[in-house]
Symmetry: C2
Subunit: 255 residues, 2 copies
């Protein structure tokens, strides 16, 4: 099992990811928010790169079933229904809805993986579900960290390292790239307290500054959601056959 | 003192580095080879991005004083005088010569930093000299790892982490980016044996496979050369006012 890893979505060409199994990681906050939205009954998430495209697409669809969500530089986009805080995506707001979704880093990373064979959206909250898929799948896995405006981000890299550390426990024949080795070492260095690591990261500090500190605790909650968001045909849906979540892990629901 | 850090030269735009003090790191092998060439009396190194440009430039210059050096994918380039093994750059061959120099990663990284205010070429062999400059300079420092074909490379990142660990010892007010924090942690994880880390890196393994294993030991020798290669006006020369190397560090000379 070979594990290429990229520390930001801009570091790889989309054709490199063609036909690969790709795990897209964006801890703060896209992958966490997508997990919450689908857990709370959103029908699908449609990631788009630009605000202009989000407006164009949603304008041509039937209004009552469509929401626009996301952020630019951490803040709500004018004319959008939802920002990018996970707790905005309540059952009341999102059940049965399609959400056109555009964020600074995460939606671009998901778009970069669009030619992948299996594209899984991962953060700390749903890592157990992603791992179950990977252990069944058995093939090579490319890990694509969203990063922060094209730069390395600690929280995505430590999340990748946690995923790898769990694969190391169960897989015999892992071939780790330099970047995968580095992520694993970073998880071992900074993974003892995920909330502390997230708070002290550049992106965590930025979110605290702009008033989104409350989002960080949920983003740091490991294995709290049994949901496997999968991109297929440019749309993210919950994979239905996800197994039961292992006992002992609380399921967080935001109502 | 703020320390932005990039894990590969392709991860940053050249205008981001404009007017910055930039430390370009390429352990395997460009930065090591440049240190050796200048230590052995080469007049200057002229880094160029493409083989075509190297041929064009050297063809228009006076032949006896010009050499062409470098590699593509680790191997000697047809029509070039020298490959990229440090021990090819002997005093006999390089003294007084200008070397047109093109490599897969390193020369591109150096080119990326061309608009920097101070651009220093660094590897393990000359880290003490680079540190002396930085301690005198006192301003922000951007660290640019060359990386490996646009990807993260362990040896450059650990070298960056060693540089940062030494700055941490002497500087009071360091503001480390996520990437700088990560490099520091990687140095603490893998820096106990630099030769072992280099050998097990992807690039180290590749060089062993193509017959350049002998290069790795020199590339892993910390503080063995008192030389500060500086890029100015697209030419790399040894900075003349370098202090004496601290006692206890052997000086390696390849004759």
């Amino acid at each position: 099992m070979h594990i290429p890893l990229y520390f930001a979505a801009t570091h790889v060409d989309e054709l490199t990811l063609r036909d690969q199994t790709v795990v897209v990681i964006d801890v703060l906050r896209a992958a966490t928010t997508i997990a919450v939205a689908l857990s709370n009954g959103a029908k699908e998430i449609i990631p788009v790169n630009t605000v202009e495209r989000a407006v164009k697409i949603s304008g041509s669809l039937f209004g009552d079933h469509i929401l626009r969500g996301g952020e630019r530089n951490g803040r709500l986009i004018e004319g959008f229904n939802l920002g990018n805080s996970p707790d905005e995506y309540t059952t009341e707001k999102v059940r049965g809805k399609a959400i056109i979704y555009s964020t600074t880093n995460g939606s671009g990373a998901i778009d970069k993986a669009k030619y992948g064979r299996n594209v899984l959206i991962c953060s700390f909250v749903n890592m157990a579900s992603v791992l179950r898929f990977l252990r069944t799948h058995k093939g090579d896995v490319t890990i694509l960290c969203s990063g922060n405006n094209g730069r390395f981000s600690m929280e995505d890299s430590v999340c990748a390292g946690m995923l790898i550390s769990r694969l190391v426990e169960s897989e015999q024949d892992l071939d780790l790239s330099d970047a995968a080795q580095a992520s694993l070492a970073l998880f071992r260095s900074f993974g003892r307290s995920i909330p502390k690591m997230i708070r002290s990261s550049e992106h965590g500090q930025f979110l605290i500054q702009i008033g989104h500190e409350k989002d960080l605790d949920l983003c740091a909650s490991v294995d709290c959601m049994d949901i496997l968001p999968v991109l297929s045909g440019n749309v993210i849906r919950a994979r239905k056959e996800a197994d039961l979540i292992p006992s002992g892990n609380p399921v967080v629901r935001i109502e």
